[in-house]
């Protein structure tokens, strides 16, 4: 029923998606208001709301199939809302606050390999030392350095004896 939507790369988490939805709603409001002004022939124009690069990219992608209209923007809002409610969400914990590049890299991998609409929330915890811990609902995939150290600690005495 609705076209597939490729989310912008910098929209990784549900928070980013909600921010994007707010921007789209603001843009829809402006677009609707501007359309009414055009329809009544008013020369008064309201300023276009500032959009983030991600929102701009999304709107450009959305108008490729069909020119923007209030209906299309409502469809986009509904689709984003649907994504927010149904998209799988992962939480990736790293050993330090991730940069945008790292976020982008991990998000792209997840969208390419797991699900194209997957949402990723990032967190950090220095005690994991390195690697990553992935939470999905009740499941935890712990591939952290700390986990590996703890798993291999029985080998330390042997290694020390060899030394």
């Amino acid at each position: 029923m609705k076209a597939r939507l490729q989310l912008p790369d910098d929209v990784t988490s549900v928070q980013d998606l909600m921010t994007l939805m707010i921007e789209v709603r603001e843009f829809t409001k402006w677009f609707s208001h501007n359309a009414i002004l055009k329809r009544v022939g008013s020369k008064k124009k309201s300023d276009r709301p500032a959009l983030s690069p991600g929102a701009t990219e999304l709107l450009h992608a959305w108008e490729k199939d069909e020119p923007l209209s209030v209906r299309r923007l409502d469809e986009l809002t509904d689709l984003l809302n649907l994504y927010k409610n149904t998209a799988p969400t992962l939480t990736i914990t790293l050993a330090a606050p991730p940069t945008n590049d790292i976020k982008q890299t991990l998000t792209n991998w997840c969208r390419a390999n797991i699900a194209p609409n997957i949402m990723i929330a990032f967190g950090f915890n220095a005690t994991i030392l390195g690697g990553l811990v992935i939470h999905h609902k009740s499941r935890i995939f712990d591939w952290s350095f700390r986990r590996q150290l703890l798993a291999e600690r029985e080998k330390f005495p042997e290694v020390l004896r060899r030394v």
């Binding site: 330090a96 600690r153 005495p157």
Partner: protein, 202 residues
Amino acid sequence: MTGITFLQLFLLINVFIIGALSTTAIRHAWAHFRPQKKVEKPAAQTLHLPQELKEQMLDKAQRDFEKVLTHAASELQDDLTKTATELNGQLEKLGAQVVTSETQRYQTMLESLRTQVQTVITTAQTDIQDHQTDLKTKLNEKVAAEQQRLVGQIDTKLADAVTSFLAESLQHNVDLGAQTPYMIAMLEEHKAELIKGITDES
């Protein structure tokens, strides 16, 4: 038992002979010292012996009686001496037999007791050796187990110390940029597991 019965029979015969001789001696002595007065028949005495003859007859009778009495006493003395001698001999024999048999019995009993004691001592020594061996084995096992436990404790504490040290020292020097290839590699390695987990939860 047969010896004792024979001895008793012999002693009884001796006692019987002594009794008979004693009775004869006593009767003679009684008759000598207390002669019974014969009832004189008043009219029977027709013969009157001269006084001298009477005295001679009385002396002769007295001498004869004394002679018989002395002879009987001598025989009695001899018999008593023989009897005492035989009795002493028999008693010695009996005593020797009793001592011998009792000695043999005691020796047999002592030998039996010695054998029993030896057996008991041997058994006790064997038991003690077994117990000692058992105790040594158990002690060795306990010592080995305790040693193993202590080594395990040391290993655990050492591993905890190393882990804590690494955790404390590494967490301040995290370079996520350098870890990115590792993280992507981990994701690739566990991709199937990750997808399955997400699918199951969804």
